[in-house]
């Protein structure tokens, strides 16, 4: 039973690897996940929170490959801890946003009428506000902290998923196979789950990859402003903000977290681009 589907996903992976941006993105994202997983099980060179007061502000060396910060904490370990932290925030918030957004978008598209108008106008209101600003509002109302950061990021990106899900639903629900399913008496939930949703999957997957990059960036931004992850927990945004005053004296404090953020965001974006190319039937065969 599973065979054809397995073969299909392998084929997809092969196509992705042949796509240049997809391949680079996949490598970066895999690296990021590996580092993040190592960080989350604390397989770091040093404990990320351990202070070595006698060895503060050390330049990169054999013991501390990325140097140490003001407290003598190992930057490399903190980068790994930060990867775990941003991974956690990104995965939870995007899962939340995807579930909620897809649900709302599908309902909206499938039921139509007043429900559609109501849901989509509310989404439009959220859309009208710049993402980081909206996240700032949510966090300042709820208070800083990692759970609230997850919630804020999810709030910001839910409307995008609602919109992305609604479009294909509108097309798919008019198609003959859906009408056929309805004619033989299939219930609405069955139609949505078995026939409509699978056909909206492609754009959603692309969107998920892009949303992961945004949420990574938003988490870093909020933490930089002191509203996301709280010190001493490692977060790339917190590390950047701590380095700000002394970047001139100790440039490695700024360099590594900045590079980590850049590569992480780049990875998810390239992966998203690659997936879009691969999954979009109109582009197929062009490359």
């Amino acid at each position: 039973m599973q065979k054809p589907r397995e073969r299909a996903s392998l084929k997809l992976l092969g196509r992705l690897l042949r796509n240049r941006s997809g391949a680079v993105g996949l490598v970066l994202v895999t690296f990021y996940f590996v580092v993040g997983l190592l960080g989350s099980v604390e397989l770091t060179p040093h404990p990320p929170l351990e202070q070595h007061p006698r060895e503060r502000l050390q330049a990169p060396s054999a013991t501390y490959i990325m140097g140490t910060d003001l407290f003598g904490r190992d930057i490399a370990s903190r980068i790994m801890g930060g990867a775990a932290n941003s991974l956690r925030v990104a995965v939870f918030s995007v899962t939340l946003a995807t579930t909620l957004g897809t649900l709302l978008g599908t309902l909206s598209g499938y039921i139509g009428g007043t429900v559609d108008i109501l849901i989509m106008r509310v989404m439009d209101v959220f859309f009208a506000l710049p993402a980081l600003l909206l996240a700032l509002v949510v966090v300042s109302v709820l208070g800083p902290g990692i759970n609230n950061t997850v919630f804020a990021i999810a709030t910001v990106y839910t409307p995008i998923f609602a919109r992305v899900a609604r479009g294909p639903v509108l097309t798919v629900k008019q198609m003959e196979f859906v009408l056929a399913a309805r004619c033989i008496g299939a219930q609405d939930w069955r139609i949505v789950l078995r026939h409509v949703l699978p056909n909206t999957l492609a754009p959603l997957i692309v969107q998920i990859s892009l949303a992961l990059s945004w949420s990574l960036l938003t988490e870093a931004g909020l933490s930089f402003l002191g509203l996301g992850t709280q010190p001493p927990m490692p977060s790339w945004g917190v590390m950047l903000s701590e380095s700000r005053g002394i970047a001139e004296m100790a440039p490695w404090l700024m360099l590594y977290p900045a590079a980590a953020i850049m590569l992480g965001v780049l990875g998810f974006n390239l992966l998203g681009d690659g997936m879009r190319d691969v999954l979009d039937p109109r582009l197929r065969g062009l490359r």
């Binding site: 929170l49 202070q51 007061p53 503060r56 003001l70 407290f71 600003l133 700032l136 800083p144 002191g226 709280q230 010190p231 001493p232 701590e242 700000r244 005053g245 002394i246 001139e248 004296m249």
Partner: protein, 505 residues
Amino acid sequence: MLRKVLLILVLVLAVLSFVLPSVAQENVLIMARAADTTGLDPHTQTAFASFRLLELIYEPLVNLDADLNVIPALAESWAFNDDATQLTLNLRQSVTFHNGAAFTAEDVVATFERILNEETGAAARANYLSIASIETPDEYTVVFNLSQADVPLLAALATTNAAIADSADIESGAIATVANGTGPFKLDSWTPEETTMLSANEAWWGEGPFVSGIEIRIIPDETSILAALRAGTIDFALLNDPLVATLLEGDQTVVLNRVPAIAYHVLQLRAVDTEAPLGELAVRQAISCAIDRQEVLDTASLGEGTVTGPLTMAAYALDPSELFCYEKDLDRARELMAQAGYEEGFTITVIAANAEPPTALSEAQSIQAQLAEINITVEIESLELSVYVDRWLAGDFQAAVALNGGRPDPYTMYARYWQSTGNLNNVAGYIDETLDELMAAGRAETDPAARYEIFAQLQRHLAEMAPWVWLYAGYEYTAQQPYVEGFVPYPTDSLISLAQVTLNR
């Protein structure tokens, strides 16, 4: 976001000042700082940033010099009677306010009546409560009759919070919106969070000012101030962040002025908080013994400062080594924890303001790591400054990392915290009869040697009872171009010597 917009605005203004040559004047001192004044009423301001502007415009009766001695300002001379219950001040003659009105004893009376009126909400009111009545035998003499002996009153007068205002402004209420003082500079315009323009008061009684005016620019990010100094677009700057200031050490083109501050960094423990174990003397002592103060200083301020006891001013400071547990002693700390029955430790929450002082979060993290060694789990709650101040004033915290301002006199500095009647006693969260007695004795004592002994005893007692853990005193920083001559840095961070500055470009 707002900061960014402001920064852009300031940059645009800076560019405009190049484009429009008429705007840039030769003899105007251009100064930058990160925070703006929060208002123009000298009596109600509490922010350091407000004092730095208003002390150029307004003057108190007496001032402090760079060694914290009381020197004449609007009063030329003064004398206490023998039992320190009456203070007579002889006022400077032919002084005028910026609006041309003459300065007389009437203005002094109006000012102190306003400050003592509870409805005004004057910031320093508590320091003048001993004033029972004010007499004016003639136009240039003022006599304060005191309800009790109060030696610290004289030094307490040396603050912008007791600056003398025009009695007409006080009557009309204009004092809140118009800056009409007797000081060396007049306020020409104030655009909040942007620029403030001051011009020289030619009629000032003192020597100077030698510049034709001062343009104060608000640049919220201190690293940008640093860049502006290096680029030569500003002449003078106030710096708060020691990490930024240290970048200027050894700089060939910009001069860094550094003076030991009397403001102190402190870990406040609220002993009255019954939910936390902090009510136990042994626990507080254990915390004091477990913290290596030098390490906090090295970590948070790169060693820019000195470890200090409760009193920071040179005349009263004690050698920290003679105070209780100023050497880190983990064995003793663990013993004390065991004695209190907390070998297993406990959890406390420490509040710290987000960026004010810039070192607060680093201090909290260093303390967190050190207290973990005696099983105390510290949770850091970082708060926006305004939220932090509200909760601090309400006593709504277990422990706090704070930077508190110092005063030249120990009584004025601590009466508000350590007297059970003090207006900030609830913030200090600790009541102790010994402290009340020592405070009262120090207030009435006129002999300097005896006062020193009283306050030495106070410091030893405070360090041993450990309601707070005093950490260190940093430096006050200003930075300037080499052609700015004659500036004297003050331990109070006061800018009054800007009146004597010359520009030799």
